[in-house]
């Protein structure tokens, strides 16, 4: 009986794991490529000699995003942006004549799954670089793996601990961030609150289980306090919490001038509604996850909300990307994450183009670190990575955005990230 029970348990767990993996969202091209992978050794041997002069072998890169997890509203457009960038690069001749093959996997916003799909991409598919997600928790688990495997990871994991060692301040050799970090975004929000909105007191409501949220809240609070503001409360919640009414009521009773909300989109919606339901009527400041579809999901009217945003959708490459994304996928709101995926691929492709062997992780890493200069982003600003931190220089622009009464958004302020002083 015990054996039968054990067998049943194993079957149930294995089945759920398999289903989870299949939900992993391996895209069609990836599946095709994966099946081709099993035949690759023989084919590669045959192809190696004739191609000695002009190598046209595809360059395999991975793309790990959350396409079915709690941050999939960001992960899906992010993946589309990366795939679209690869499509355009290939249409224009690839990397020095070699096409890119992109293998997409779903980390489900789960650190453990993230490691599993990383291993699959590196060990089984044989990718030479990876486009990472806008998620700090899974990305932080790849720091040592990427170093060991010599696989550069370029992405939007905004927690600075994904790119630099918090103890030594030194950059992790294979991790590269191509947008302002969450700390920078926190500083910008705090600066806008103090300088433009005239806010004197704030409270925060954030997810302590989410590295992105924690590393945005603390810099925000530090900057706010250091520049004369008062923090009345720092309220928290976790992944398992579904209702933040008590925290919202506490904040509402303190009645700060503004409340900072920071987490992924789903939790932002609940937090906003709980605050408004508790009677809080002041300003609400938010992470870039307050962008659409936030305004269509909340049950209370969206008013007095200000959040950071990476792109101005009305002009430049991002306008085209957003338009094509909406047309191709049927998405009914513009998503800036398509620009994230696009930008990460552009930065990686630029390094690969400069490399003698674009599949050599060490060589590409060195170029990413030292020669990522003025790569035009989807938002038509330049991405230059600082060798010491593997993050963009402090002149990369961001916007402060607010919602109008009709649900449209309006950029109210543009900041260069050098416009603030963190100390």
């Amino acid at each position: 009986m015990k054996k039968l029970f054990a067998a049943f348990l194993i079957c149930a767990l294995t089945a759920s794991q398999l289903i989870g993996c299949s939900g992993g969202g391996s895209t069609a091209p990836a599946t095709q490529a994966a099946s081709a992978e099993t035949e690759a050794p023989a084919a590669e041997k045959e192809a190696a000699e004739p191609q000695a002069e002009a190598n046209t072998d595809p360059i395999k890169i991975g793309c790990i995003q959350d396409t079915t997890g709690g941050a999939s509203s960001a992960g899906q457009p992010n993946q589309w942006g990366a795939e679209y960038a690869v499509r355009i690069i290939n249409e224009n001749g690839g990397i020095n004549g070699r096409p890119i093959e992109i293998y997409c996997r779903d980390c489900q916003n789960d650190t453990e799954v993230g490691v599993t799909v990383y291993r699959e991409l590196v060990d089984e598919v044989g990718v030479c670089a990876i486009i990472g997600p806008p998620l700090s928790n899974p990305a932080s688990a790849w720091v040592d793996l990427a170093t060991e495997d010599k696989v550069p990871i370029v992405g939007h994991f905004m927690d600075e601990i994904c790119t630099t060692d918090p103890d030594t301040g030194e950059a992790y050799p294979y991790m590269f961030l191509v947008e302002p970090s969450s700390a920078v975004q926190g500083y910008i929000l705090a600066k806008y609150a103090l300088d433009e909105l005239g806010i004197k007191s704030v409270a925060s409501l954030y997810n302590t289980s989410n590295a992105f949220a924690v590393t945005q809240e603390k810099p925000f609070v530090d900057y706010f306090v250091n520049n004369g503001g008062e923090v009345l409360a720092e309220e928290t919640f976790g992944w398992a919490d579904t209702d933040y009414s008590a925290q919202a009521q506490k904040i509402a009773s303190l009645n700060p001038d503004a409340v900072l909300l920071t987490d992924y989109a789903n939790q932002m919606v609940t937090a906003y509604d709980n605050l408004r339901d508790a009677g809080y009527e002041g300003y609400i400041l938010g992470a870039n996850t307050m962008a659409a579809p936030f305004n269509t999901l909340v049950k209370n009217p969206v008013k007095d909300c200000y959040y950071v945003k990476n792109y101005d959708f009305t002009s430049g490459k991002i306008a085209d990307l957003v338009k094509v994304h909406m047309e191709e996928t049927g998405t009914d709101y513009p998503s800036g994450n398509v620009g994230f995926g696009w930008d990460a691929v552009q930065v990686l492709a630029s390094a690969m183009q400069q490399a003698e062997d674009p599949t050599n992780g060490e060589e590409v890493r060195d170029i990413l670190e030292n020669k990522t200069v003025d790569i035009e982003s989807a938002g038509e600003v330049n991405i230059t990575l600082v060798p010491e931190t593997h993050r963009p220089t402090r002149d990369m622009g961001m916007f402060i955005v607010t919602y109008n009464e009709d649900g449209t958004t309006e950029e109210v302020q543009t900041y260069l990230t050098s416009d603030y002083k963190a100390e």
Binding site: I19, T68, F237, T242, D243, K250, S253, V269, T296, K299
Partner: protein
């Protein structure tokens, strides 16, 4: 502030009560905690959402709720047929029901995740305002509706179980399915009736919770831990105990979160559960259920 927190606690408790009743009704017969109830709530929330979205002008809430309740009944009977009937036939121990319910719950959640992702979907609002005020106190419109419906459901269930023939049959089967069979009660029909009731509860819960929060695959499963705590403290299988425990849990949770913060609150909540299991394992209701799982 204390009164306002109390109202919030009752509101949260009403949500837990809605889940706990569905939990308790199945436990009262089968003596296992039907974790699959959470998956069914999510599935019903999605079905209700897509039903409502299929109309240009969203139908009245009651239409969506009735439709989803009907679908919930059919789904519960289907799950019973596929997952539990064979186990029942083989008179397998309660542990197998429990394992099967976990399997079904994971299966439903993953199917929903694969087809719809984990993005939020929102029901059309039922009320023009999310809150209303009485005497300076704020009440959540949807929480008030959930509380009214939970109490109405509980009253109806207590009436059915205590005053009707099918209720008598349910109570008899709950004590001993084999003996009740010998007494001429068709226990298969009774079991189907219980699953149908649980399915109906999952249906209405799906619509109400989907309206209160949003619709996503882990909507129901995310509530199951609290539903389980409530059913243990209430007395496994006790409907009245579940409701009392649900309200108590909601109130305690709100006050603890207010005073201690969200990180420390679970420590105290699970401490209370530990205390109950140690001091009064039969829970609030005082009825000790056999074969607890």
């Amino acid at each position: 502030m204390t009164l306002q927190l109390l109202i919030s606690g009752f509101s949260l408790g009403a949500v837990y009560a809605l889940i706990a009743v569905g939990f308790a009704i199945v436990f009262s017969i089968f003596k296992f905690s039907n974790i699959a109830h959470g998956g069914m709530i999510s599935a019903c929330a999605f079905i209700g959402y897509f039903f409502q979205s299929s109309f240009e002008e969203p139908p009245p809430f009651i239409v969506t709720a009735l439709f989803t309740t009907g679908v919930g009944v059919l789904m519960a009977l289907l799950i019973d047929t596929i997952a539990y009937r064979n186990i029942r036939k083989k008179q397998a121990p309660g542990l197998y029901y429990f394992l099967m319910s976990i399997t079904v719950a994971i299966l439903i959640e993953q199917i929903l995740s694969v087809f719809f992702g984990k993005n939020l979907h929102t029901y059309a609002p039922i009320f023009s305002s999310t809150t209303f005020s009485i005497g300076g106190l704020r009440f959540s419109s949807i929480d008030t509706l959930i509380m009214v419906i939970s109490l109405a459901i509980l009253s109806a269930l207590i009436f059915v179980i205590n005053k009707t023939k099918i209720g008598l049959a349910i109570r008899t089967v709950a004590i001993s399915p084999s003996t009740s069979q010998l007494m001429g009660i068709n226990s298969s029909v009774v079991i189907m009736a219980v699953f149908a009731i649980a399915g109906a509860l999952a249906g209405i819960s799906g619509v109400l919770l989907g309206t209160k929060f949003s619709v996503y695959p882990s909507l129901g499963p995310s509530m199951m831990t609290k539903g389980f705590i409530v059913s243990v403290i209430g007395g496994l299988g006790s409907l009245g105990g579940a409701i009392v425990a649900a309200i108590a849990l909601g109130v305690v949770e709100i006050f603890l979160t207010y005073w201690l913060g969200s990180l420390s609150t679970p420590i105290v909540l699970f401490g209370i559960m530990l205390l109950f299991l140690t001091v009064r394992p039969e829970g609030i209701s005082g009825r000790f259920a056999k074969d607890k799982v």
